[in-house]
Amino acid sequence: MRIGVVTFPGSLDDGDAARAARIAGADAVRLWHGDPDLHGVDAVVLPGGFSYGDALRCGAIARFAPVMETIADAARGGLPVLGICNGFQILCEAHLLPGALTRNQHLHFRNRDQHLRVTSTSTAWTNGFTEGQEILIPVKNGEGCFVADERTLDELEAEGRIVARYTRGNPNGSQRDIAAITNAAGNVVGIMPHPEHAVEALTGPSLDGLGFFTSALRYLAGSAAGGQLTGGAQR
């Protein structure tokens, strides 16, 4: 399986996402923001960082990168896409996910090891977890406060599209403790904390982040076998 990781100017955790994909057993393929070709990858990670220096708004310019046009089309066709941190911001700017990520309520960048509760396991990126499982992965952002209007929030809850919530403390003031959400099809997931930094005992607080990448591989294997977990058809 080939997982593509996009590098935008200002992407920072792209190497880490690629490493995580490799540790999970995938081939990591580096994608370039200016190249619309996805080089036949089976899934895409939009990594953390400060694409385009966060100019205008986080993710506002990355959304228009040539590679994003292809990714947006493919995502609508079912390609599994995981947006981490800045990647989540880009997915929201690209309207692949609802809502927006705003400045942390306390106005500081915040880096800590964060407990999450996985609340949806029917996505391409979380099917390997158990419902309600508590996991520990690093959070590090300045603009991670998820906001949406009440109707959207209610919808997300009603449709089971809140993928993970902060537990034992909310690090940024996100509404309803939202840490990760998915689209209706379950193939596109945006998450504020960084699963790619919890894949090795030596460097992470846990190995819990690996589950996101192995879930994708499982999902892809399932798709290849014709039995899809959720969501639309493979590209």
Binding site: P9, G10, L12, D13, G15, D16, R19, G48, G49, F50, Y52, G53, D54, A55, I61, R103, Q105, H106, L107, H108, F109, R110, N111, R112, H115, P138, K140, G142, E150, L153, Y166, R168, G169, N170, P171, N172, G173, S174, Q175, R176, D177, H194, E196, H197, E200, L202, T203, G204
Partner: protein
């Protein structure tokens, strides 16, 4: 992002007499050609004009040049310097660039340097480079950015990070981490509430955006730093050995390329240039200001430089920092002995009206100077374009003189020759002073006033109260309020980071090769005895690295002192350098580079002499690093705790004397470097043989502090039985003495005999003082017991109380900024001159502060919505509070 968006601002047609922009330069942007030449009163001051007006008075004194220095410049040139030349000499001969006061002392680092085969580049380069395996080298250096950070905390600190990172990059390395040793005035002083949050946000804002993990540092409060906070920044980078870059502008005919950001007026006056009204009377819009950082540009600069190195496209490279183009042009040419011909009108500008002198003096950030073979220029430009950074051919390397003398640096601006100098006279042949030194008059009295005579707590209750008071004191308390604002995970190789003793990084994923880094200093010790204080700082950094299991191999230092014109300060400097050089000689590890920061002084009051020492160590297998936290005990009996090294009654200069008595006097603890080496070897072997599961160096606050930190790290208790005490070494002394050369280790049962034997083999004294416990308590037998919850509450509340819950911090800060701006406006102008050092910020003290100093502040209305002040609605705090108390319901806006 490419440069196309800039083309809208270009389009000025060059006057016919101006050479056309070279075809290979990037288009667009303001060019110097946009300026009407007559703006400069008949044109810029040219060499020709200087020859014809040799008697014209020049403002050399205002630029910080002494009369005899000015005479020497005239002698070197055989005429008066042009305005641009004068500015260049004043910059390059400033204390900051020329090290004119420190040079005679710093030589010891070379003279006393131990033989070392690892060092590939040392003092005099942008940063020292040490080889850590057959293929891999690392480069690291610590530098100061003190004065700018006091003037404008956010940008000052941010550009401090940017500057040191470019030094690392210029050596050919990929920067992989930063560390920040910080010193502020009294924790509860209103101005500290202005400076600290801004500095921390600036370091975070720049480093996080650059994708560099922040893996350690220091945060120290002392009133002596009130008007002179010390903002030091360390960076480390890694490279394949063969990628080491040179700064020489070698190869006649090679192209000089300016890469990175466009040049603006920021930072001009950094070394007090252009502060003179003679240069420009209506200078309103040209006011020099603090450099403004753009980490995104620096990130692109890093990626493009690395791509250029790997493709072998660069002959020489030098970063632009303090002294900007002036420094980069003269140093690269002087290093090669070549000449250089530079066309200033080609330099891409942010402001079209900049004069040639300003272009040469600008300290705009995120720029590098490349020397490129002409046939590779196109490839270089392509790489730059790929990453969206400017690359401009601004000149070429020229031959040395026909008589064998080094070449000349000739700089023109629209066909006017404004500079024609021997580059070595600027870069290498600056003045050198052996300044008078004199032991401070008060030192004898100070040393006689020993803290060992102060009243001490003795009853169990008093000891318990002292412990809680100590761990809540600003210097010893938990600093996660600060460190949580730094990304420590990015790049995925951080094995240990603050609050651990040393930052540990994985360097090679295949082999597990890693490095450990620590920076330490203790201004109080150095105040009491600069020679021993410097050795103590070295010993502590060495020990911090050693307790992780690493082998210390190299040193960098940032020497922060008062005015070198004060003989007492100069004596402190001379003694500290001598102590550090002797110490490094004895430990067998060389100083590979560093920086001197003088003039950290307000009026007659200098800061404590504060040498900050960074030590780098190697771990062949980074997986066997020893962390500081006690692991959860494998059995109910717990791991065994041993105290290594000798504890004596050494309280002078200690945190205890300061916190409980406000006392500073006596002599600092003794330091025995041979013992430090033995301890280091013991720690490395013990970790290799897996005899220890945790280790923590003892320093400020003594054993009590270490127990608290090691327990709280993973919420594991400890039961301590203090060793036998006598009249001299009482329970109090065991807990709070700051004797050097000690560490606390946790040894799993079954390993204790072997460990004790190993300690004996290394001649390190070793005494069992207790066990770890499942129950979360710190129990000092026969003295007191405290639950870890109570310990944690005391340890973690201080920073939040001082600097607010985050939201409160912001509003307080804005008030403080306003107040500080008023304060600064009232500062006497004389203080501004102190900013000679540190790419300093010249005359802009009163100018920029009222700008929003803190991008994190957000719009005012956003701030206003957030309750503030000590009596604020508790609803705000849960975000920042301990997880156990955080309830989503408590957050404003978190529910319908």
């Amino acid at each position: 992002m490419t440069t196309q968006h800039d083309t809208a601002t270009s389009g000025a047609t060059a006057p016919p007499e101006v050479p056309q922009q070279p075809a290979n330069a990037k288009p667009g942007g303001f060019a110097a050609t946009d300026v009407l030449i007559n703006q400069f009163d008949g044109g810029p001051d040219t060499v020709e004009r200087a020859l014809n007006t040799s008697d014209e008075l020049q403002p050399h004194a205002e630029l910080g040049l002494k009369d005899d220095e000015y005479d020497r410049i005239r002698q070197i040139l055989g005429r008066r310097p042009t305005a641009s030349e004068l500015a260049m000499y004043s910059i390059m001969w400033s204390e900051h660039c020329s090290y004119k006061s420190s040079k005679v002392h710093l030589r010891q680092f070379g003279e006393k340097a131990p033989k070392n085969t690892r060092m590939l580049a040392g003092i005099g380069e942008n940063a020292g480079v040490v080889q850590i395996s057959d293929e891999i080298a690392v480069t690291f250096k610590v530098e100061s950015h003190n004065h700018p950070s006091f003037v404008e905390p956010y940008q000052g600190a941010a550009t401090g990070v940017g500057g040191i990172v470019r030094d690392i990059l210029a050596m050919g390395a990929r920067p992989i981490a930063v560390m920040d040793p910080l010193r502020f005035g009294a924790a509860d002083h209103p101005d500290t509430a202005r400076v600290l949050p801004g500095v921390v946000a600036g370091i975070g804002g720049y480093g996080n955006c650059l994708g560099l993990p922040n893996i350690g540092g220091e945060i120290v409060f002392d009133p002596c730093y009130q008007g002179n906070p010390l903002i030091n920044a360390l960076s480390i980078g890694v490279m394949p050995v063969e990628r080491l870059q040179r700064k020489e502008a070698a190869g006649v005919g090679n192209v000089v390329v300016l890469l990175g950001a466009r040049t603006g007026r920021d930072g001009i006056g950094g070394v007090s240039v252009l502060a003179s009204a003679t240069f420009d009377e209506g200078a309103e819009q040209r006011r020099p200001s603090v450099q403004v950082g753009d980490p995104f540009m620096e990130k692109l600069l890093i990626e493009s430089c690395l791509e250029l190195y790997d493709a072998g496209l660069v002959v020489g490279i030098q970063d632009l920092g303090g002294a900007g183009l002036t420094c980069a042009l003269t140093e690269t040419a002087a290093a090669a002995g070549t000449g250089m011909r530079v066309y200033l009108e080609r330099v891409p500008l942010r402001e079209a009206s900049m004069s040639p002198t300003e272009i040469l003096a600008s300290e705009s950030q995120e720029r590098m100077l490349l020397i490129v073979a002409p046939e590779k220029l196109d490839e270089v430009l392509k790489v730059a374009e790929k990453w969206g950074v400017w690359a401009t051919d601004i000149g070429e390397v020229t031959p040395s003189e026909t008589d064998g003398q080094p070449g000349r640096l000739v700089i023109s601006w629209n066909d006017h020759i404004v500079v024609d100098v021997p580059p070595g006279s600027l870069a290498d042949d600056g003045p050198v002073y052996a300044r008078p030194i004199r032991e401070p008059a008060d030192l004898i009295l100070l040393q006689a006033d020993r803290a060992e005579t102060l009243p001490r707590p003795s009853t169990p209750d008093e000891l318990r109260e002292t412990l809680l008071r100590m761990i809540a004191s600003p210097n010893l308390c938990d600093k996660s309020w600060v460190t949580e604002q730094y990304d420590r995970y990015v790049l995925g190789n951080t094995v240990l980071a603050q609050p651990e003793d040393a930052g540990v990084l994985r360097i090679d994923e295949r082999t597990g090769l890693g490095v450990a880094l620590s920076v330490d200093g203790n201004g109080r010790y150095t105040r009491l005895d600069p020679y021993e204080g410097a050795r103590l700082a070295l010993a502590e950094a060495y020990r911090n690295v050693a307790v992780t299991g690493a082998e210390p191999i190299a040193v960098t230092d940032c020497l922060n002192f008062g005015s070198p014109e004060d003989p007492a300060v100069m004596w402190q400097f001379a003694e500290a350098v001598r102590g550090l050089a002797d110490g490094c000689q004895q430990l067998g590890i060389p100083v590979t580079g560093g920086n001197v920061s003088f003039y950290n002084q307000t009026g007659a009051a200098a800061i404590h002499p504060t040498p900050v020492v960074g030590v780098l160590g190697i771990l062949n297998d980074v997986a066997r690093r020893t962390p500081m936290g006690f692991p959860p005990p494998p059995t109910a009996e717990g791991d065994l705790l041993f105290l290594l090294g000798d504890t004596e009654c050494e309280l002078s200069g200690s945190e205890w004397a300061w916190v409980t008595h406000g006392h500073l006097g006596g002599r600092p603890p003794k330091v025995d470097l041979a013992h430090e080496q033995a301890l280091g070897r013991l720690m490395a072997q013990a970790s290799e043989r897996e005899h220890i599961v945790a280790a923590h160096d003892l320093s400020d606050g003594g054993l009590a502090q270490v127990l608290v930190e090691s327990c709280l790290r993973r919420n594991v208790g400890a039961r301590i039985m203090l060793p036998e005490h006598d009249a001299a070494v009482t329970p109090f002394v065991w807990l709070f003495s700051e004797s050097a050369g000690r560490a606390l280790v946790a040894v799993p049962r079954g390993h204790d005999k072997a460990f004790v034997a190993l300690a004996a083999e290394h001649n390190v004294s070793c005494v069992q003082i207790g066990v770890t416990a499942e129950e979360p308590v710190l129990d000092i037998h026969d003295q007191f017991t405290i639950g870890l919850d109570e310990v944690r509450a005391a340890f973690t509340a201080t920073m939040r109380n001082l600097f607010g819950g985050p939201a409160e911090g912001v509003t307080r800060q804005i008030a403080a900024v306003v107040e500080a701006a008023e304060l600064a406006a009232a500062e006497p102008a004389a203080e501004v001159e102190a900013a000679d050092d540190d790419r300093a910020t010249g005359t802009s003290v009163t100018l920029e502060i009222s700008e929003p100093a803190h991008p994190a502040s957000g719009p005012a209305d956003e701030v206003a919505e957030v309750p503030s002040g000590p009596d604020a609605d508790p609803a705000v705090t849960p975000i920042d509070a301990e997880p156990a108390t955080a309830k989503p319901d408590d957050q404003p806006e978190s529910k319908a």
